[in-house]
C-alpha cells in the first residue's frame, strides 16, 4: 500500500477509537451550556472553542465521530449484505432475473442523482438517525450489487466452478464457497469508499436539517449552525469542516490505495 493509504489507515483507527471511547475522551458533556462563554474562540482549555450555546466544540466533535462512524458502518454492512445477495443472484442465475435486476432496478435507483432519493425519503418519513441509515442503505446497495454481479459473471464460467458443478455442488454452495471468495477484494475496496460516501451523505443530510436531531451532535449539523456566526466565530465552521474532510479523505486514501494494491494494472492516482 502507498504512503497516503497508510496515513489514511492510521486516521481511521484513531477515528474508531475516538468514536468508541467518546464518553471517556470528551472533556465536557455535549449538552453542558455555558452561556457566558458563547461563541468563545479556541483557547488552551477549549482548543476548538465554544458554540452558540457555549457548549465545548471539541466534545461535540468527538461525539460527532460516533454518529458518523455508526452511520457509516451500519450503512456499509447493510448495503454489502443486500448488494451481495441481489448481485450474486442476478449474476449467477442470469436470464430474466438478471434483466429485471440489472436493466430495470439498477437503472431506477440510479435515476436519482446523489443523495436526492435520500432527501426525498427523509422529507416524507421525518428526520431521525434511523431514517438516515434506512435512506442511505436504500440508495447505497445498488453499487455493491452491480459490483458483485460483474464479479460473478466473470468467475462463473471458469473451470473450477464448472468442476464444482460437475461434482454435484448445489447453487448455494457454489456461490458461497467458490464464487464469492473471488469477489471479496473488490468488495472491500467498495466498502471503504462506501464509508467515505456514507459519512459525507450523513453530514450533508444533517446539514440540511434532515439528519440526527438535537441534542445529538453531527458534524454536518454543527457546520450548518456555524454559518450564522461565520463573522464572529469562524471556528464553528472550520473544525467540523476539517473533521468531515479528514475522515472522508482517510477512507478515500485507503480505498484508492487498496484498489491499486489489489489490482496493479489499474493505475490510478
Amino acid at each position: 500500500m502507498n504512503r497516503l493509504a497508510k496515513i489514511g489507515l492510521i486516521i481511521i483507527v484513531i477515528l474508531f477509537i475516538v468514536a468508541i471511547f467518546a464518553p471517556q475522551l470528551a472533556p465536557e458533556s455535549i449538552t453542558a451550556q455555558q452561556l457566558s462563554a458563547r461563541l468563545e474562540g479556541p483557547s488552551l482549555a477549549h482548543p476548538f472553542g465554544r458554540d452558540q450555546f457555549g457548549r465545548d466544540l471539541l466534545s461535540r466533535i468527538i461525539f460527532g465521530a460516533r454518529v458518523s462512524m455508526r452511520v457509516g458502518v451500519t450503512v456499509v454492512v447493510i448495503c454489502s449484505a443486500i448488494g451481495t445477495l441481489i448481485g450474486a443472484m442476478a449474476g449467477y442465475y442470469g436470464g430474466w432475473i438478471d434483466r429485471l435486476v440489472s436493466a430495470f432496478i439498477f437503472n431506477t435507483f440510479l435515476a436519482f442523482p446523489g443523495i436526492l432519493l435520500a432527501i426525498a425519503m427523509i422529507a416524507f418519513l421525518g428526520p431521525s438517525l434511523n431514517n438516515v441509515i434506512l435512506a442511505l442503505s436504500i440508495i447505497g446497495w445498488v453499487s455493491y450489487a452491480r459490483l458483485i454481479r460483474g464479479q460473478v459473471l466473470k468467475v462463473k464460467e471458469q473451470d473450477f466452478v464448472v468442476a464444482a458443478r460437475a461434482l454435484g455442488s448445489g447453487d448455494l454452495r457454489i456461490v458461497w464457497r467458490h464464487i464469492l471468495p473471488n469477489a471479496i477484494q473488490p468488495l472491500i475496496v467498495q466498502a471503504t469508499l462506501g464509508m467515505a460516501g456514507a459519512v459525507l451523505a450523513e453530514a450533508g443530510l444533517s446539514f440540511l436539517g434532515l439528519g440526527v436531531q438535537e441534542p445529538m451532535p453531527s458534524w454536518g449539523k454543527m457546520l450548518d449552525a456555524g454559518r450564522a456566526y461565520v463573522t464572529m466565530a469562524p471556528h464553528m465552521i472550520i473544525f467540523p469542516g476539517l473533521a468531515i474532510m479528514i475522515t472522508v479523505m482517510a477512507f478515500n486514501f485507503v480505498g484508492d490505495g487498496l484498489r491499486q494494491w489489489l489490482d496493479p494494472q489499474q493505475k490510478r492516482i
Binding site: 431506477t108 435515476a111 442523482p113 422529507a123 416524507f124 418519513l125 421525518g126 450533508g204 456555524g226 465552521i237
Partner: protein
C-alpha cells in the same frame, strides 16, 4: 443507424421513467400517519382535515389517486401546493432557470479547471506536478460542498470582501456558488482526464504524430485530447445530474433562489405535493440528460456499437 440508437435507448428509458414517477407518487403515502394532519398540525379541526384531504384527492383509493396522478402529469400538471394552493409546475418553472444557470456555471468551472490540471498531471506522470494535481484532486473529492461553501464565504466574502456572500445578482454572485458546486466535479474530471490522456499517449498514432515533427503541444491538444475526451464527455453528462442534486445543498448555503432552495423550503413547510414535484423534476431531468449523453457518446465513438 441514429434512429435505431434513439429507439433502443427510449425503450430502455421508458420503464425507468415509469418507476421514478411511481416511486415519487408513493412518497406521500410513506408519511407516518396522515400527510394532511402532519401538515396542518395538532390543532386542525376534523372539518379542515376532511376538506383538505378531499381537495387533494387523498380520500380516494390509492390506485385511483395513482391513475389521476399520471393523467395530470401527462398534461404537465404536478398538482397544487398545500400552502397557497398554487400550481406546483408554476412554482418550479419560476425557480428552475436559476438552478440550470448555477449547474452550467459549475460545469464551466469544473471543465476549465480539470483539463489543464489533468493534462499537466498526465504529461508529467510520476513527477511533482502530477503528485500535486493528484492531491488537489483528492482534497476536492473529500471536501464536501457544505464545508467548502461556508469556508469560501468566510475567506472571500467576510475577510477579503471580494465577493457577495449570498443571493442572486450579477456575475459576482455566481462565482462562489459555481466554484462550490463545481469543485468535486473538477476533482473527478481531473483524474479522468489524467488517466484518459495517459492511455492515449501510449497509442501508435502519437508516435506517428511526434515522428512527423509536430510539437508536443499540438500532439497533446489536437490529437490526444480529442480522443481522450470521449470518456470524459460521458462523465460530464452523467455528472450534470449529480450537479443538479448537489445544487440543493449549494443553493441553501448561498440562498440561491433555485429548485434546491425550493425543495428544502417545501420540506420544512411539509408541503408534500411541492416536494414531490421538485424531486420528480430533478430526477426526470437527470434521466433525460443521461439518455442524451449516452446517445451522444455512441455517436462520438462508433466502436461502442460493435459490442
Amino acid at each position: 443507424m441514429m434512429g435505431r440508437i434513439l429507439v433502443r435507448r427510449l425503450v430502455l428509458v421508458l420503464p425507468v421513467i415509469w418507476a421514478v414517477v411511481t416511486l415519487v407518487f408513493l412518497l406521500i403515502h410513506m408519511v407516518p400517519g396522515d400527510p394532511v394532519l402532519t401538515y396542518l398540525g395538532e390543532r386542525a379541526t376534523p372539518e379542515q382535515v376532511a376538506e383538505m384531504r378531499h381537495r387533494f384527492g387523498l380520500d380516494r383509493p390509492v390506485w385511483e389517486q395513482y391513475i389521476h396522478y399520471w393523467q395530470q402529469l401527462l398534461k404537465g400538471d404536478l398538482g397544487i401546493t398545500f400552502f397557497d394552493r398554487r400550481p406546483v409546475t408554476e412554482k418550479i418553472l419560476g425557480r428552475y432557470p436559476a438552478t440550470i444557470e448555477l449547474a452550467l456555471a459549475a460545469l464551466v468551472v469544473a471543465v476549465s479547471l480539470s483539463i489543464p490540471l489533468g493534462v499537466t498531471a498526465a504529461t508529467h506522470q510520476g513527477k511533482l506536478a502530477d503528485s500535486i494535481a493528484s492531491v488537489v484532486a483528492l482534497v476536492g473529492i473529500s471536501l464536501p460542498n457544505f464545508a467548502l461553501g461556508p469556508l469560501m464565504i468566510l475567506l472571500f466574502a467576510v475577510k477579503l470582501r471580494w465577493l457577495p456572500a449570498s443571493g442572486m445578482g450579477g456575475l459576482s454572485h455566481l462565482v462562489l456558488p459555481a466554484i462550490t458546486l463545481g469543485a468535486a466535479l473538477a476533482a473527478i474530471l481531473t483524474r479522468m482526464v489524467r488517466s484518459s490522456v495517459i492511455e492515449e499517449l501510449r497509442q501508435e498514432y502519437v508516435k506517428t504524430a511526434r515522428a512527423k515533427g509536430l510539437s508536443e503541444r499540438i500532439v497533446i491538444y489536437k490529437h490526444v485530447l480529442k480522443n481522450g475526451l470521449i470518456p470524459v464527455v460521458t462523465i460530464v453528462g452523467l455528472q450534470f445530474g449529480v450537479l443538479l442534486g448537489g445544487a440543493i445543498i449549494t443553493e441553501r448555503i448561498f440562498n440561491w433562489p433555485g429548485i434546491g432552495t425550493l425543495t428544502i423550503e417545501a420540506i420544512y413547510a411539509r408541503d408534500y405535493p411541492l416536494v414531490q414535484g421538485c424531486i420528480l423534476v430533478i430526477a426526470l431531468t437527470y434521466v433525460l440528460v443521461n439518455t442524451a449523453t449516452d446517445v451522444v457518446y455512441r455517436m462520438l465513438d462508433p466502436r461502442i456499437q460493435v459490442e
